[in-house]
Symmetry: C2
Subunit: 247 residues, 2 copies
């Protein structure tokens, strides 16, 4: 078969069901900061990351698995949980061999929507694992949807920039007839050389920088610092590449 | 009051209800080609344009009003209607003093959603009436939502480019904390000097150019060729500025 697989970019979870994702790969993107933290924890040897969409579930699953519970609201660790959403909280010395139970609203919802709509595989993408995502998508040669988690369903720039970074690298391997993808690639090309400055203009920067997270956010737009491939398997995100889990 | 009114860009009708549009102005944008045709028909002296979302309604309202019925599918006039969606079909010699009943799916739906969500005013925007839209928004000094009609709820570039053109001109009059608006302005600045070339990359171009509509689409991204302000009043779009209706 000579026909290239398709690639679409979805700018909000609310638009996901417009696209046919059956038997395709969905890349869940939540640059600030869930998918950046997931890549980092797995890169640093976490056995698995369990993404959950509520604090109650996080506490409950933390108890049954003995995992580290994590989640933030307004820049602070949520009461009842042990840790926050920052990738910097999960160095190898702390997270290797452990389970991380991570509360994330936008990203977890998109992940479940992708599974319910028949995706054959769900992986997570972020700048820290950009190359691992690109290499996998090219190797699989299947239809791809780059799913931006957005913020409360609103389009956000940082997820679009990551989609654009992927597209710039793998465009020749896919048939791309999608204005969202053209936009994402243009935005990435326009800002790739000033990305740490540009993200200061985004709404999410303004929400998070107030909590002193500037260094965190700059890490989240830096490529290949945690180059693993998180793949969803039966409720867990596990690493298919790079440093194996286990201590 | 010194606080500037807000401005948001909504990239798909599905996302409209996320935004508070109560007492604000919604600009319905459907560059290819509904809102371009609406501006052109009113500029050329149409008494009013009645936007409808189905062929049956178009035929029925055409009968009761004596209006010209218009609508296309796949580049051809829909059976039972008299004319198509092209702005070029509505010169002054033909449309002056008449009512146009225009079938448009994406744009009409967004318009009704805006009214149902409490917008105080709905106007239509397109490159042919760019300046009239900008002048009105600055003069009104109210909150604004730039509503892209999209294509079957998918983000499209041509509507985003128009939103960006508006933002580039009026940004200093508004408080803009909105990634969609940042993106739209960036995309417009990036492509404003090659817009007739750039639109050839969009998905909508590929759908419509197959029907020989290239000149039509180039007109639809040319500023201020039909500089009126279409405002929705009790079911009709009427011109508040420029050449009055009536022959």
């Amino acid at each position: 078969m000579n026909q290239k697989p398709s690639l679409f970019t979805v700018v909000s979870p609310r638009l996901l069901d417009i696209y046919d994702i059956s038997n395709g790969i969905v890349v869940v993107i939540d640059v600030f900061r869930a998918t950046s933290t997931i890549a980092t924890a797995l890169y640093n040897g976490a056995t698995r990351v369990i993404p959950v969409d509520s604090v109650d579930k996080c506490i409950q699953i933390g108890k049954t698995t003995g995992g580290i519970t994590a989640g933030e609201r307004d820049g602070k660790v949520i009461e009842g949980l042990a840790h926050g959403n920052s990738p910097a909280e999960y160095p190898r010395s702390f997270i290797a061999g452990k389970t991380l139970v991570l509360t994330t609203t936008n990203g977890t919802r998109l992940l479940h929507m992708a599974l319910n709509n028949g995706a054959s595989e769900v992986i997570t993408g972020s700048f820290p694992n950009l190359s691992a995502v690109c290499d996998h998508l090219v190797a699989q040669n299947k239809n791809v949807v780059l799913g931006c988690s957005a913020w409360k369903d609103r389009f956000n720039l940082e997820d679009a920039l990551f989609a654009g970074a992927v597209i710039e690298r793998i465009r020749d391997h896919f048939a791309i007839h999608c204005d969202s993808s053209l936009m994402a690639e243009d935005m990435y090309r326009l800002h790739k050389n000033d990305i740490k400055q540009f993200i200061r203009k985004t709404t999410h920067w303004h929400r998070l920088a107030a909590y002193g997270l500037e260094a965190d956010l700059e890490y989240c737009v830096t490529a290949d610092q945690a180059n693993v491939l998180p793949v969803y398997r039966n409720g867990d995100l596990v690493s298919l590449t790079g440093p194996a889990g286990g201590s």
